[in-house]
């Protein structure tokens, strides 16, 4: 788990040292129970969990479900908690890329054709009730998420949030108690690392609630015994979905991670307590309390000491200036996230944006730098314009990719004169009326005003269009708008980008078609090598800029503020939230 925070281990050592010093200085006995549980571990880990330590963190929304792989339970608000209570083969790192969790288990790609991955759960890895994590957990995960368990009515008996990836996996062959299993894909798949989790929901509980023993569950899945699996599926669908504050008995919701979910006050707080019998490195903080609080109110709560860590949603200039006003009391960190705003064009035949020159002109007149300066930089001083689509400024390879794929001489700066020339070249009657669709919120309205100001000067007439159902219109009524401005919430997945750009893709209602791009995406998705795939994506980006498929604008700012003395908190660009490395937070030493 320490792998999530590469490069900051140094601080952890320092802080741990400081803690040890203060412990000796203030306490005559010096020795704390639980400290130095093993002499062979690194100094960072020898501290163990500090008894009585608590860190309180504000989250924007309340918890709803233990099973976050159902369609209904799949929400970031559940990830905030599961970051601490569930450990799996991998997790999203701070930049959205997968990070291996070697304390849980290991995996290795053993063959490219067919794509075969061998997973090994560590021997000591178990649920917090002592049941080892093994074959039955994997099989249930596969059965629930592969979409193959179809009931008599033709519907999947499991309400899975997604069958992505699992649908390509052949039924794993393992026996009860096996800690090692081989997963074989029917075709190569780029995101294979992000599929099998292993420690998400406990199969032995689901089996028990469905009236089976774990062995019977394994047999039922091996034999596709739908009748036997139906009660299990019913529990899997609804049994781990809760009314606010109604936590079931602890044995129903065991943890695979360092923390146990011990208390839940509806709409108020969720308490996680370190599992004393955790198989991996004990987390430094004994208790993590998550308090539900709207982003606007979080700074005052931090100032009053009611919460120690905040990560307000949609941070504004005000958030930053308030935090600055707190001076040394808090440490403020800023960064980006993976939610990026962009302008998409309807470029089918007869549409205003059909001629390439018109799209190029629009890309030249949109004041991208000014937008970042006005809307993003106040909350994230390091913010830059988002110049690519599948690469983010937080990515290590962003700069290199931008160098190759982004035509900086064309769109690096706003160029009204160049835009005007392109418009004249296009030979269209000016002004070109553009129905510009976006959500009716203050940020989008400000953006639209800036764009209208600039682009109306070069022969466009940008008309604001803010229907409440703009999201539905994107695909359902492409004729009603010429350009749309909205955000995509990105993730570390690569394959999910395909449907945005390829001919006839589900999320490409724009009439965009480029055979090179289609080919590149086919290669990317069926590759099994992340590095190679990202190389290919650079080529796709260049094509997308040549065609001016769309105009990326910026990524949202991300602000984290931490009370003085707490170490190990990081800005997380991925959707998993600031709690993603709670097992590495080190409480203030007073």
């Amino acid at each position: 788990m320490t792998t999530k925070r590469r490069g900051t281990a140094f601080f952890a050592v320092l802080a741990a040292g400081a803690l040890a010093l203060t412990a000796c200085g203030s306490d005559d006995d010096g020795e704390e129970p639980g400290a130095n549980r093993s002499g062979t571990e690194e100094p960072t880990q020898s501290e163990g969990t500090i008894p009585g330590s608590t860190i309180t963190v504000a989250v924007n929304e309340d918890y709803t479900a233990y099973n976050d792989t159902t369609a209904i339970g799949n929400g970031t608000w559940n990830s905030y908690i599961h970051n601490g209570t569930k450990l799996t083969f991998w997790s999203y790192g701070a930049d959205g890329n997968p990070v291996r969790e070697e304390e849980f288990g290991t995996y290795e790609k053993v063959s490219d054709d067919p794509l075969t991955v061998e997973y090994t759960v560590n021997d000591e890895t178990s649920w917090s009730d002592g049941t080892p994590i093994d074959c039955d957990d994997l099989l249930l995960e596969w059965a629930a998420l592969s979409g193959t368990m179809v009931g008599p009515d033709g519907e999947n008996i499991f309400d899975a949030s997604s069958t992505n990836g699992f649908e390509l996996i052949e039924k794993p062959d393992c026996q009860p108690g096996d800690k090692q299993f081989t997963v074989v894909y029917s075709q190569p798949y780029i995101d294979w690392e992000l599929i099998v989790e292993g420690g998400d929901v406990p199969a032995h509980i689901a089996a028990q609630q469905g009236g089976l023993t774990p062995e019977e569950l394994v047999t039922a899945i091996q034999n596709d015994d739908i009748a036997a699996l139906t009660p299990v599926a019913e529990f899997w669908n609804t049994g781990w979905q809760f009314n606010p504050g109604e936590l079931p008995p602890a044995e129903m919701i065991p943890s695979s991670g360092p923390y146990l979910l011990t208390d839940w006050q509806a709409g108020q707080s969720i308490t996680l307590t370190a599992n004393p019998d955790f198989y991996g490195t004990p987390p430094p903080t004994e208790t993590i309390v998550l308090r539900v609080l709207d982003g606007d109110q979080q700074v005052a709560a931090l100032q009053n000491g009611e919460v120690d860590i905040i990560n307000p949603s949609n941070p504004t200039v005000d958030t930053i200036s308030q935090l600055e006003g707190l001076g040394d009391q808090v440490e403020t960190m800023t960064g980006g996230n993976l939610t990026w705003s962009h302008i998409d064009f309807q470029m089918g035949p007869g549409r205003a944006f059909e001629p390439l020159e018109v799209r190029q002109a629009f890309a030249k007149c949109v004041p991208r730098e000014l937008i970042v300066e006005n809307l993003v930089r106040p909350a994230n001083p390091d913010a830059v314009t988002q110049d690519l689509r599948e690469f983010f400024p937080v990515d290590e390879d962003y700069d290199a990719a931008r160098e190759t794929a982004f035509p900086a001489d064309m769109y690096g700066e706003q160029d009204l004169q160049g835009a005007q020339e392109l418009m004249d070249q296009a030979g269209v009657t000016q002004p070109v009326e553009i129905v510009f669709m976006h959500a009716d919120d203050p940020v989008r309205n400000d953006l639209a005003a800036l764009i209208k100001d600039a682009c109306d000067q070069v022969g466009f007439n940008v008309v604001d269009f803010t229907p409440p159902d703009w999201g539905e219109r994107l695909t359902a009524d492409p004729g009603s708008y010429d350009a749309a401005m909205f955000g995509w919430a990105g993730s570390g997945n690569i394959a999910s980008g395909q449907s945005l750009y390829v001919t006839g893709g589900d999320q490409n209602p724009y009439g965009y078609s480029n055979t090179t791009v289609d080919e590149i995406w086919d290669q990317v998705v069926t590759s099994a090598d992340r590095e190679a795939a990202r190389e290919l994506l650079v080529e796709a980006e260049a094509e997308l800029w040549n065609d001016v498929f769309n105009i990326p604008l910026y990524t949202n700012a991300n602000v984290v503020a931490v009370a003085q003395g707490i170490e190990g908190v990081e800005v997380n660009a991925a959707q998993t939230g600031v709690t993603f490395n709670m097992d590495e937070w080190i409480p203030a030493s007073s």
Binding site: N74, A160, G267
Partner: protein, 510 residues
Amino acid sequence: MLAFIVRRLVVSAGVLLAGTFLAYCLVALSGDPLARLRQDNTPGVEDRIAEMTDRLNLDTPVPLRYLQWLGSASKCLVPFAAECDLGQSVRGQDVTFLLGNAVSSTLQLITVATFTAMIVGVIVGIVTALRQYSRLDYATTLASFFFVSLPLFWFAVLLKQYVAIDLNDWLADPTVSLPAAAIVGVISGLIWASAIGGDRRRVWISFGIAFAATAGALLILSASGWFASPGLGPVVVTVVGGAAALGLTALLAGFRYRHVLYAALATAAVGAILNLALDQVLSDPSYLTLIGLLLLAVAIAGGVGYALGGLQRKQAIQTSIGVAVIMSVTIFIDRMLSAWGNYFDAVDGRVVATFGSRTPNYDGGTWGNLLDTATHLLLPTIALILVSVATYSRYTRASMLEVMNQDYVRTARSKGLTERTVIVRHAFRNGLIPITTLMAFDVAGLMGGAVITETVFAWQGMGFMFVTALRDVDPNPAMAFFLVTGLAAVVFNMLADIAYAYLDPRIRLS
């Protein structure tokens, strides 16, 4: 009267039905509940969109969806069927359950605030009416308009800064400096001097006494370290009891007949003794015990009043019960403060909370938990009270002034009744009639939760549920809110009419 009520009920039901239809359509058409998912680019998002569409019937036209909702919601009207189904929220939660939580937390939030606002507002209104065009009157008028027009969002920020954060900072080392004591003293002096009134000399005397008492008390309390571990103790409880006995007697009966005074003083004495005698019981009582003790206190007070009241039996009982309630509240506060040290340590000295309804994982016994609730209620209650007090005081003042100019008040005066009797018996009662309507409306309105207050202070009540529902384009919780507030409005209007008829016999006759 019965026919009137039935007619009102039928009309109200129709209005409610039409209202639900309108509200449902407005919420459902206000946006796209799938907006969040439509901007999501993670794998399998189509499955989740399909699931939500299916679960919330999003592909059904809105009017038909309303009928479906009405069908299942109408089952709530069948008593004891336990079939009540108000649908699901966007996040898949059972709305009936959400509603239960929201109602209980809203009631928790508004009960104290409403009653305090009513009592304080009415008292301020009466005092300003009696001191019409005095400095106090002008000052209160100014303050009322100020508070009524205050943007609550901004006010909440001020409260958080000064009453929570700064106060907590101060509590770390609670000492009152000489200038601070002087400033508070001057303010107190101004208030008392203008409230008591009289000629110039009396004003200066009132000012001087109030100034000295306030500033002196602050300095003494500061020097004795009271702010670091506040409490009242049996002496203060006894003094408060005695003062309540004298004050209430003066207000309700006067000192001409001694029976009332004796009864009140006897009640205060019994209260002071019981406070000591019940020390064991009061150290960590259950909530039921507390309610039982309050009832016991009222019963004893009633008995004392009955036994000692003589000819003024009714007034004696009223006065004694008043004294008993005031003493009970004082003892309650005293005991709650006994948990101060424990609580102070538990929250690291950040006593006043800026949000939420309780400290997570704190269990300080009955008194500690009550203190915890009180510190969380403090800010929202102040915010709610200031606005309502302003309204109540203005209405009461106007109503009292009108009544004081009535012929029957002049008649009462000319009969030679004391000013106290004229005001308390003749003017005050009639002056309250219009306020009753206001109170009924207010209680109904408050059932809807104080939307802004709940949002700013993260209090998950009705208002919060409604705002969240609107933001998520989530008709079912919004409709649950509408149902409860709509019903409350109908019921309390009716109660107001009935109370009106009870208080004003002329309405019954017509």
